[in-house]
């Protein structure tokens, strides 16, 4: 059956190789695409994580994940995206674990009215993978009597099974139509300030244009850098804070091409939720990785701005 032309994926440059969409072989159940969005007193948010064309063709589950949560007391938003590393066998579970740990940690810090210790946040997110691997994915015990023993944490095994990149943004309202965002990351997922159609990168590039080759590997949790300083961004009405995994960031480049234009237009105002997922279904040459975009608009406190 032919699909209605209106739902064909956006084509950026040369379309990718056509490929089958196979059932992912995994437990527990993991949908191809997740879509979320809501509005609060101060913000509108949208996010979608979409399985890439390569994972669809291979029957591999979506390894990207996202979470966006409101802290009711402060009106702050916790936004997280994670990209499970391909070579880690169960990294889709790792990505989900990381998102949940970050959300739980930051909700507790906000409840307590404390300052965020960003390095500790990342260490806890990394450790969640180590404990998850030890408790839930423990190798069979050769000795049955060892069944009740506390599982031994094995960070290397956790890395092999569950490694995941992460970007965290904590966004606090800062007066009508304004907000401040603090962002940290481990790995190659990233963030932008989309201002008047221009994509302003919030993190320094991992490889410069002069670098001959792409980096040999991606750093990812449960590895944590020795130091971590959050990036701060001030958002005004009309600005959009955007987080994206490399499946979006790589084809986007510096944002001045067709994909940058497509998403700048698509995110100018909060789109209908399924529209973001449809935009992310784009086909672009060999760019066939999972892709996730999480977008936040300040200004929901202005009644005229209600989307």
């Amino acid at each position: 059956m032919a699909r209605p032309a209106g739902w064909d994926p956006p084509v950026i440059g040369v379309p990718g190789e056509p490929a089958a969409v196979r059932a992912p072989v995994t437990q527990p159940y993991r949908p191809d695409t997740v879509i979320d969005g809501w509005s609060s007193e101060h913000f509108h948010v949208r996010c979608a994580a979409v399985r890439g064309h390569a994972h669809r063709a291979q029957g591999v589950p979506r390894q990207d994940e996202c979470a966006v949560v409101l802290h009711p007391g402060s009106g702050a938003v916790i936004a997280v995206i994670a990209d499970g590393v391909s070579s880690a066998e169960l990294s889709h579970l790792g990505a989900t674990m990381v998102c949940r740990t970050v959300v739980d940690y930051l909700l507790q810090v906000l409840d307590a009215g404390k300052e965020v210790d960003w390095l500790d946040l990342m260490r806890c997110a990394g450790w969640s993978l180590v404990e998850y691997a030890a408790r839930q994915l423990a190798p069979p015990q050769p000795d049955a009597s060892a069944g009740n023993a506390e599982p031994v944490p094995d960070p290397r095994r956790a890395e092999r099974l569950l490694a995941s990149t992460v970007v965290v943004a904590l966004v606090r309202p800062d007066g009508p139509g304004r907000a401040r965002a603090w962002l940290v990351r481990v790995g190659d997922s990233t963030g932008w300030l989309l201002r008047a159609g221009e994509w302003i990168a919030l993190f320094a590039p991992l490889s410069g244009p002069a670098d001959e080759l792409v980096p040999d590997g991606v750093s990812a949790l449960p590895r944590v850098p020795g130091e971590l300083t959050p990036v701060m961004a001030e958002l005004a009405r009309g600005d959009v804070l955007v987080l994206g995994t490399d499946g979006f960031a790589e084809p986007l480049g510096d944002g001045t091409g067709a994909l940058g234009e497509l998403f700048a237009a698509g995110l100018a105002t909060p789109p209908p939720m399924p529209k973001l997922a449809w935009l992310l279904d784009f086909t672009a040459g060999t760019h066939d990785d999972d892709r996730t975009v999480l977008a936040l608009w300040p200004g929901a406190d202005d009644p005229a701005d209600e989307a």
Binding site: A19, A57, V85, V214
Partner: protein, 225 residues
Amino acid sequence: MSESSGRVLPIYMVADESRSMTPVVDELNAGLRSLHDALLREPMAAAKVRFSILGFSDDVIVHSALVDLRVTSALPQLSVRGGTSYGAAFSLLLDRIPADVRALKREGFAVHRPAVFFLSDGQPTDPGDWEATYAKLTDREQTPTAPNIIACGIGEAKAETILKVATRPEFAFVATPGVEVGLAIAEFCAALTKSVIKSGQAIGGGEAELIVERPDNFKMAMDVV
């Protein structure tokens, strides 16, 4: 160019064409044909690979420059001639790899570290000469596009030599004595095919350190459901 055309992995198959390869060159050609067939069945994987075939003896013949195997009707045939000059092979790679990477980047591709699959059935006939060229080729300071070299020894090739050629010990393969050389070549080609199709995102430490102790504030989130 503001958008990247995607990532590609340049792969160089460097095969020994010395006369001692005569009994097995047909197996090697058959292995390359099945690699090509496998890639044509996996066009998404093939799209991310550029493949070159070099045959070395006393000199090197570029049987195929770096190409997209999706648009190649048939792979060239390897043949046999002369001795086993490792130096000639590494010298040509040192010449071609940086130029090939520059050309791919001009086309807008982000380029993975190139991979060389090196297959030999004998000891080098230029001992003492090839090592300096090899050192320059694989030194990432001198040659930023230095490749990973996966080395496979069959027949008379010695394990210690193959270990010197592979850029990591786990990249060195030597056929078990007694195993038919044709079978070893078939296995090598199967491993090559698998590597080509499975090349993807890998874990790399970078500046980050593996966390080894439970942080004081750690609380387990609800288990993943």
